[in-house]
Amino acid sequence: MKRTITALLLSSLLAGCSSPPTPSASPSPAGALPEEVAVLTSAPEVPPPITRKHSAKVSVKLEVSEVESELAPGVTYTFWTFGGEVPGKFIRIREGDEVEFHLQNRPDSKMPHNIDLHAVTGPGGGAAASFTAPGHESVFSFKALNPGLYVYHCATAPVGMHIANGMYGLILVEPVGGLPKVDREFYVMQSEFYTEGAHGEPGLQPFSMEKALDENPDYVVFNGKVDGFGGDQAQVVKVGETVRLYVGNGGPNLVSSFHVIGEIFDTVYIEGGTTKNKHVQSTLVPAGGSAIVDFKVEAPGTLVLVDHSIFRAFNKGALGKLKVEGPENPLVYSGKQADVVYMAEGSTIQRIPGSRAPVGKPTANKEERIARGEIVYKRNCVACHGQEGKGVPKVFPPLAGSDFLTSPEVAVSAVVNGLSGEIKVNGETYNNVMPNLQLSDEDAASVVTFVLNSWGNKGGDVSPKTIARVRVK
């Protein structure tokens, strides 16, 4: 049996010897349909809605490349991509369109690749027909028979590894007549990464097959990296606008409990199909599946996109941010900005009693501590204290120009021992909890040194020895 399965598998992989997939309807003669080239966009952008009232022959050109880039602050990964980034380019076509698909594999690629588009009706979703060696291009055609939001992915053996390395994206087949008009559209795709090193371990991290088989990822992210949606380039919408998210899940393993903190989905197109559900809090997005969610934003603040399988969000990276700007609307929502309270934990594991603090590699001097401290800060502190150390008024105290930090020891103690209860910073009262983060002496020394030397603070250098002294055993 195994022999048969494997033989079948291999035969499906072999573009050279397989007959091309035969669509159920034969394509119209050339020239029967107007021709156009598809506009492709990188996440979080979505190509503009299709306004034409007829089918077209659409040419899609997608280039596969293998690139090393950032997965998390200080962590890099060799991604295999459709279009140079993870997730792959967003493709938008219309029901009834005839698509001529060009898959181009860059000459410097190490691997052959192909594409299985779930929007294709035909063997392998185009996989066999698009199997392409480095430096080559494959062309195949299909007719978009079913409307919906579909995942596409690489299906070259070993399939799991090609997907795990970032080879997935979304293709939207708009129904005839289009989708209801909204003000803003965004492309969000969740996926996991399995690395040899633990979460946050710096440097170039290779893919870990063992962890992938155990379905135990180090990173669960939106749009290909930690802070991939709404990090440096925050998406901003206005109160009163209607927002549509095209949500995909590349997997390779996990099913997402997709949720937006602070919103209720007015409409969900279940699994990216035509059935609509109303007033939904969290929607399941299967690996290799999708959902379309619509909501109107009624109150200002920051909406937080999460996988509500919640440890993935706060400890593995599945957090995205959508800023809503506009006048307060106390009728809809009144009170302090509770939407960020959930962010109180950094990605570092909080200390478990009796466990030993991890040991980091030694830093030689102040400069090294500042550099390393910046990475530690981004990973653990930025969610509450902000990129610029300004905190959140009345909720999380500022670190920039803080009169609370009278000595380095005060900062050290907060980092390694935690801090709770009422404190006064720059004349403002704060009453919140800072968790005791499980940082090594080196990481703790580095992050405090970074804070002391940033945003106009007075400077200073904290050694790992100070940490050991201040840490409550």
Partner: protein, 251 residues
Amino acid sequence: MLVLTAMLLLTLAPPPGMVKVSGGSYAPLYAREDDRIAVGPFLLDRYAVTNEQFREFVRAHPEWRRSKVKRVFADVRYLGHWTGDLDFDPALAKSPVTHVSWFAARAYARSLGKRLPTQAEWELAGSASEKRADGTLEPGFSRRILDWYARPTRPALPPVGSTYRNYYGVYDMHGLVWEWVDDFQTTMVGGESRGGGDGDLFCGAAAADARDRSDYARFMRYAFRSSLKARYTLANLGFRCALDLPSGKKP
């Protein structure tokens, strides 16, 4: 004539630049767990063929020059990293020749009375680590291969011999370039049974036996070979030559 010379030399010791790979058994990718194919002993080039060596070949065989080669035997990228019919950056002299088609690699081998290794021979030689004939279960062996597979190709390839020397004395079986084998498309055998609509099977089965890392790496090699056509030339695909032992025992 050349063949004769090579055969004569063999009666004494392996010809210069070649080593003997003692035979063994080898589990093809599509085999059941206990299915193994016997591979007889053979001779294999110590190093992949270099740009310098390939230049000597095209000098003597003008039909294989970049400007002369027939398109049916090599695609447009043939020797594309060279600057002319017989010219390339001198720094690349000892680097493995790439951008060569299967036809060109075969012609080169024939010109020396040699041949390309079979897939089974290549896999047998490739499964040796530094210390053992079968190093596939050694820690780090598959990691090294997978790490290399995961990285894009460097613009300038390092010289041959720059990675590792294995149990047989063969260098760079993994980590320098992909290599042509004589029967690179034979993995297709048995593929006719595929009916329509096996898409699910195709995806699901790809994980079969993946618990064994060496199989995972092997999967990638077979997938790579399957993507090739004989006229293709790639930036990271070179070759080395093999030769039967004088006894003439075919694997």
